[in-house]
Symmetry: C2
Subunit: 346 residues, 2 copies
């Protein structure tokens, strides 16, 4: 099948770019040094490619993501890098043979793990992002409480999410180092073998973690594309121009096909005016948006006609994937495979 045969809007992965991204990461962080985060792509097919590149452990943000990974035979070492109060579905996974570790940061989450049938936990530590995780000075107490509840404490996790997007590399390195100092202080009180942290933005400057939780590196987006990372944008949307007026054109890639929290998508070679639910209004040719360092290999012509196809690059990969049922793996103008985005929902 050719790309032109796809109904639109269609989510596309450039297959060679995906493979190159996976390869670059696997060379730098081989095997268990990387614990790919599936929340970014929500697809067991992509997780299987990551497994083929040597990474046997995964982390996830939802119970359904873990269930899907286990059902796909990828349950060797699963981490729910998130707090939940009802762990009964995780316990069912454990009983079915998957290895499941859960993040805990409070007496309530410890109790949920124990009651739900989870056997292993990491102590989640707040290392600067105002989100989940206990205070560094409480980490030892949380670990002790987990052990008293009969849980195996494998170590600590934290996420320096407040620095992963910092454009200045030196500031990113310094912020990461400060965060990891906090995580290592907590680890000294908690014990265990695992120090799990990091993300795509700190993949090569976080040298303290035993494993890096990167997800976006596989597909990338316009937000991460500005950081000068060695990963290229593999994800784009194929749209059809459905209407042309003097001064603008409209394609069928609306905001229900795009994660919008990081702002508008880019159309290489054109200027995006705005997104509606089902439409993208853009100006071909003039005043093109800044594309960062790694645009896709396509540029909008200065004139488009009704029926022409365009390519749209999403600003944020994670919520974009979560809107689509499937993604098409392409090389040039050929569609190689279509993969279900099967880890959506809760």
């Amino acid at each position: 099948m050719k790309i032109h045969d796809l109904p639109t809007p269609a989510l596309l992965i450039d297959g060679p770019v995906l493979e190159a991204n996976l390869d670059t990461m696997a060379r730098a962080l081989p095997g268990a040094r990387l614990r790919p985060h599936v929340k970014a792509h929500k697809s067991t097919a992509i997780a299987a490619r990551q497994r083929a590149h040597g990474h046997a452990g995964f982390c996830a943000a939802t119970i359904r993501e873990l269930e899907g990974l286990a059902a796909a035979g990828l349950g060797e070492d699963l981490l729910l890098a998130n707090e939940v109060l009802d762990a009964s579905r995780l316990g069912a996974l454990v009983r079915s043979g998957a290895r499941v570790t859960m993040a805990v940061d409070s007496p309530e989450t410890i109790d949920a793990a124990r009651r739900g049938g989870v056997r292993e936990v990491l102590v989640d530590v707040n290392i600067g992002l105002p989100r989940c995780g206990c205070a560094v000075e409480d980490a030892g107490r949380v670990a002790a409480a987990a052990r008293r509840a009969g849980l195996e404490v494998r170590g600590v996790m934290g996420y320096e999410g407040h620095v992963v997007g910092q454009a200045d590399r030196a500031a990113r390195e310094a912020g990461c180092a400060a965060s990891m100092e906090r995580l290592l202080a907590a680890h000294a009180e908690v014990g265990g073998e695992v120090v799990s942290a990091g993300g795509t933005g700190t993949w090569d400057c976080n040298r303290a973690a035993t494993e890096i939780q990167a997800g976006s590196y596989a597909l990338m987006d316009t937000a991460y594309a500005t950081l000068g990372l060695p990963f290229r944008q593999a994800l784009s949307l194929l749209g059809t121009v459905v209407s042309v007026s003097p001064g603008w054109a409209v394609a069928d890639v609306g905001l229900k096909a795009l994660g919008m929290d990081h702002g508008n998508p880019l159309v290489p070679g054109a200027r995006v005016l705005f997104c509606s639910d089902e439409h993208l209004t853009f100006v071909p040719g003039q005043d093109a948006d800044d594309l960062g360092t790694s645009p896709i290999d396509w540029s909008c012509p200065a004139r488009v006609g009704v029926g022409d196809r365009i390519r749209v690059v999403p600003a944020h990969v994670d919520p974009t994937m979560a809107y689509h049922e499937r993604v098409h793996v392409v090389e040039g103008d050929r569609v190689l495979e279509s993969w279900p985005i099967d880890l959506r929902g809760w």
Copy 2:
């Protein structure tokens, strides 16, 4: 079942508020005076409630929405209020017995309708929003071309989307009147019985349209809640507090559960700091966000604990519905029904 038994995040509709909204609209715009737009809720169950309130015609933004409506027995008078280049699936619907009308604004969309097997069209006219629709002065030519192609031209449609959200009622009325002047000028050249236009924001000031294409009125959101309309917010998300730190709390309602193009959701009685993919970080009690005129009947306590449930009101209903597989209809703390959101995707 009680609300507390639902796994979170859970999308909730306040059943009595939905019914009151449907009732208010059906009294003002009975029967065919309203053509409910299903893109806002993407659920045949809600469309069936709108049908029960007397509205037999629907409009939609995607082919899948029309297919789902027809499959649910709601295919009496379906309008694709959008341009498409491949109308073959619409033609299949026509052959199966549904009445399908398609918007056209160009020779290419007319040709698509003819080749696809669609028999009836509306001429889509641009009346101020830079999106689809032909120029007013081209509408007669588009209609003539459609008739030459053997299509029945039922009339015109337009959307004053640039004014539906204007906070000042007088400005909204004036903008609507100016837009409708353009649409009526086009209609004079096109002919036909239908003048289809409007939305929730202009539901009672658009007096020129023969039918109003309102969708958001049924469920509402924080954006429309500021306009002083007689429709109340029926939609909210139920979340669980999964982590509490000094200064903030975190619930499991992240941006993959929310349309984010209109900004952060509201938590009544609390201040939202930010949304991450799977988390909402908020400050209970202090500096509550402005809730507009019609908050849900719940307010966040000044102190929350891990395991507490909270209610989150989305900023934009359409892309929020599109993320969820189902919505639960509630009254007080009881879950009355669970409806699939079955018109998602493309």
